[in-house]
């Protein structure tokens, strides 16, 4: 393998390990934006699931159009413990979409 190929393979392996393994240990607390959006509200359990009470920005949030996607919420069909698998799929899809676009856009026969 050339140095470039070795480097690229190594980079991809790191991304796959992060998305496939480390993701299971990620904090499940709301992120910065969500914390701000939820500020002022309480989450209560109801028969219909979790609901927000009080006054906050997140009360205005509407359901996601693709909430029914098999990969919604970084899971496979909503299954427990599937975040790593969903992450690996996401890394590969992102690589194909981005890599494909950038490969098509590149200067051909460019000086290096």
């Amino acid at each position: 393998m050339t140095t470039s190929t070795r480097f690229y393979v190594g980079f991809l392996v790191v991304a796959l390990l992060v998305a496939g393994g480390l993701s299971s240990f990620a904090s499940s607390a709301p992120d910065g934006l969500d914390t701000v959006a939820l500020n002022g509200c309480q989450t209560v359990q109801t028969a219909g699931g979790e609901e927000l009470t009080g006054e906050c920005i997140a009360r205005n949030a509407t359901d996601h159009v693709t909430a029914g996607s098999p990969l919604a919420d970084y899971s496979l069909f909503g299954g427990d413990g599937t975040v790593g698998a969903a992450g690996i799929i996401g890394v590969l899809v992102t690589l194909v979409v981005a890599g494909g676009l950038f490969w098509l856009l590149r200067r051909r026969g460019a000086r290096t």
Binding site: F11, A15, A29, E50, G90, L95, G99, R106, T112
Partner: protein, 230 residues
């Protein structure tokens, strides 16, 4: 609540979302044409991998306060590694994949999220890194320090972009002063994490393939040369 890292639909009204959507499309169209000059047989695969890496690392929420977390936005990271035009496309692709496949970040909020992270975040990171590129060229320590500072800035300024959008067309629920104070305060903490991740990643690339770092290929003085199409 569902796992969400980006703005949902409904937080900002439809006209404002549409306006920022149009802005995002325009800037990304310019980015596509400008990115060509920065992409060749060597940098195109690098840009694809950087995009996949940002997707992966954005999944890793790290705790910042009890009950609150943060995650990488990636603006300075992509700007330093692949340049601002290619970099804005990297982050935009991550946001589109997250929104469509992972139901993270509303579809009508995509223009807002792209504006904040792929445009404001990336260009803030780039401008800071470019201003400090003399230090970045002095060795790996300098480069890593520049990466940290640029990443901290991209996080805080991207969070301000949300405050602007909320000020223009927010659906309500909280006062602007509170939103401003909380966004900046939380993102100053998140910016430290963003800085550490960006510094570690840029440092690792510099240790193996410094020739693949866009910032180091720019001339030390004067206008950055983005290359000319040949």
């Amino acid at each position: 609540m569902t796992v969400a890292m980006h703005m949902s639909d409904g937080l900002v009204n439809a006209p404002t979302s549409l306006a920022f959507g149009l802005l995002a499309v325009l800037v990304l169209a310019v980015a596509v044409s400008r990115a060509r000059a920065d992409l060749d047989d060597r940098t195109a695969p690098m840009a694809g991998l950087v995009t996949a890496f940002v997707f992966a690392v954005q999944m890793i929420n790290f705790p910042i306060l009890p009950g609150a977390s943060g995650h990488l936005l990636g603006g300075a990271l992509v700007a330093i590694l692949v340049g601002p035009w290619v970099g804005s496309l990297c982050i935009a692709i991550v946001l589109v994949v997250q929104s469509i496949l992972f139901a993270d970040g509303g579809l009508t909020a995509l223009g807002l999220n792209v504006t904040n992270m792929a445009i404001v975040g990336v260009f803030t990171g780039y401008l800071v890194a470019r201003a400090l590129r003399g230090l970045a060229r002095r060795g790996r320590g300098g480069l890593v320090a520049v990466a940290f500072v640029a990443a901290f800035a991209n996080t805080v300024v991207a969070s301000l972009a949300f405050v602007v959008e909320y000020a223009v067309g927010g659906a309500g629920g909280a006062g602007l002063a509170t939103v401003f104070a909380l966004m900046v305060g939380l993102h100053a903490l998140i910016g430290i994490g963003e800085g550490l991740i960006t510094a570690a990643t840029v440092g690792a690339v510099a240790g193996t393939r410094p020739d693949l770092i866009y910032l180091l290929r720019q001339p030390a003085r004067g206008r950055a040369v983005t290359g000319s199409a040949s």
